[in-house]
């Protein structure tokens, strides 16, 4: 039976120890549903690894292995090679948080993509090291507060822009890379499914809210993930065999104001107190716009 196009069967059990309103837990439910029974999951260290397996219990109903912080892609490579040798047609899926994917495991991930293993890497992107207490990562966006990029009189939070990992991995010659958000869950599910079914190294960056680290209300998790797309912060796009396909937002002139997105999150609170930091917000808005214009241009030119 399918509900809203998703299989009804659950492979990620309730009773896991994720915080209330965890976006990554919703993301994991989508990932496991897209993976299905005939798959092996590999996970690097991160929130989901910790909350899903408090020994001797496990939330997983699929074969699952945890290595270290950096080597999910390497383990997946080994499993894929073994399966290829034994002639089994099982999907191998590596899962990591943004810390493991953007920073610590980046070399391993790049290596596995270069070697061209037939596996899928999925990053649930909550934009900081949430498990260890909200430290900045390569994925943390400009202007966000974290404990290692604190905001104050002389600081606006993180001062560097988010790393564009999707394009870096597309440059490895991957047949399918995509950027998705849990706010548009059916779209995310379709992208995950396409990535898993495509042969070769594929990647999906799945934007997932973290109410604890973003200092947002638990019930707003999905709303924030949706707003991230509608304001252009997290555009939904795929790169299939090197060709861009932009899903949302299509029309740059109908973007929602960025403030709507920022105001729901405590990690951007310093941009509105004591008075609104117009300069920074305008800079962010312009950069988001520029990024979207580029994506549209790529699509137009068939790149």
């Amino acid at each position: 039976m399918a509900i809203m196009g998703l299989p009804e069967e659950e492979y990620f059990s309730y009773g896991h120890r994720a915080c209330a309103g965890c976006g990554a837990a919703t993301a994991l439910r989508l990932i496991t549903k897209a993976a299905g029974r005939n798959s092996i999951l590999v996970e690097s260290t991160g929130c989901i690894e910790v909350v899903s397996t408090p020994y001797p219990e496990t939330a997983w109903k699929l074969p699952w292995i945890h290595g270290a912080f950096e080597n999910a892609a390497s383990i997946a490579s080994g499993i894929e090679a073994a399966l290829k040798y034994s002639g089994e047609n099982t999907k191998v899926i590596a899962i990591g948080g943004d810390g493991a994917t953007y920073d610590i495991g980046f070399g391993h991930l790049s290596g596995a993509f270069e070697r061209g293993h037939d596996f899928t890497y999925i990053c649930y992107d909550n934009e900081a090291y949430m498990n260890t207490g909200i430290q900045r990562s390569g994925s943390t966006p400009y202007g966000a507060y974290t404990t290692t990029s604190p905001s104050g009189k002389k600081s606006i939070g993180k001062e560097e822009w988010k790393k564009d990992l999707v394009h870096i991995l597309a440059a490895h010659g991957s047949p399918y890379v995509a950027n998705a958000s849990i706010g548009y869950a059916t779209d995310a599910f379709k992208k995950l499914k396409t990535a898993i079914e495509t042969e070769g190294p594929t990647f999906v960056n799945l934007f997932a809210t973290c109410p604890t680290g973003w200092r947002s209300a638990t019930e707003k998790s999905i709303e924030i993930a949706k707003l991230a797309v509608d304001t252009g912060v997290c555009p939904l796009y795929e790169i299939i065999d090197g060709k861009h396909k932009l899903g949302r937002p299509k029309d740059i002139d109908k973007l929602k104001p960025l403030e709507e997105y920022l105001k729901l999150q405590g990690r951007y609170r310093h941009l509105f107190r004591p008075e609104k930091n117009k300069e920074t917000i305008e800079f962010m808005e312009n950069r988001v716009r520029k990024n979207l214009e580029n994506l549209l241009k790529y699509e137009e030119c068939g790149l």
Partner: protein
Amino acid sequence: MIDFEKVKLKVNDKEITIGCVLESNGSTANLKTGAWRSKRPVVDFDKCIGCGTCWMLCPEGCISKREDGKFEIDLDYCKGCGICANECPVKCIKMIMEEK
């Protein structure tokens, strides 16, 4: 296949399997996380249209389809985040304070 039950080790009087391998069975269901909750969702089944939005977006996966096609929430595991109430297109879920 290795039968992991048969290759148990004894560490500090506790039996563990080699490599701490566990059967993938979703045993976290032993802990009823409903105790974490401070607000409780209440579904108005007359208004529910059975679309499944709450089921799809629930981080716990504790919402299931009833025989009549509507969705009910398992309060043993619901952590009371309120995503279902916020996202329901017909607003048939209300969050009320838990009281002892």
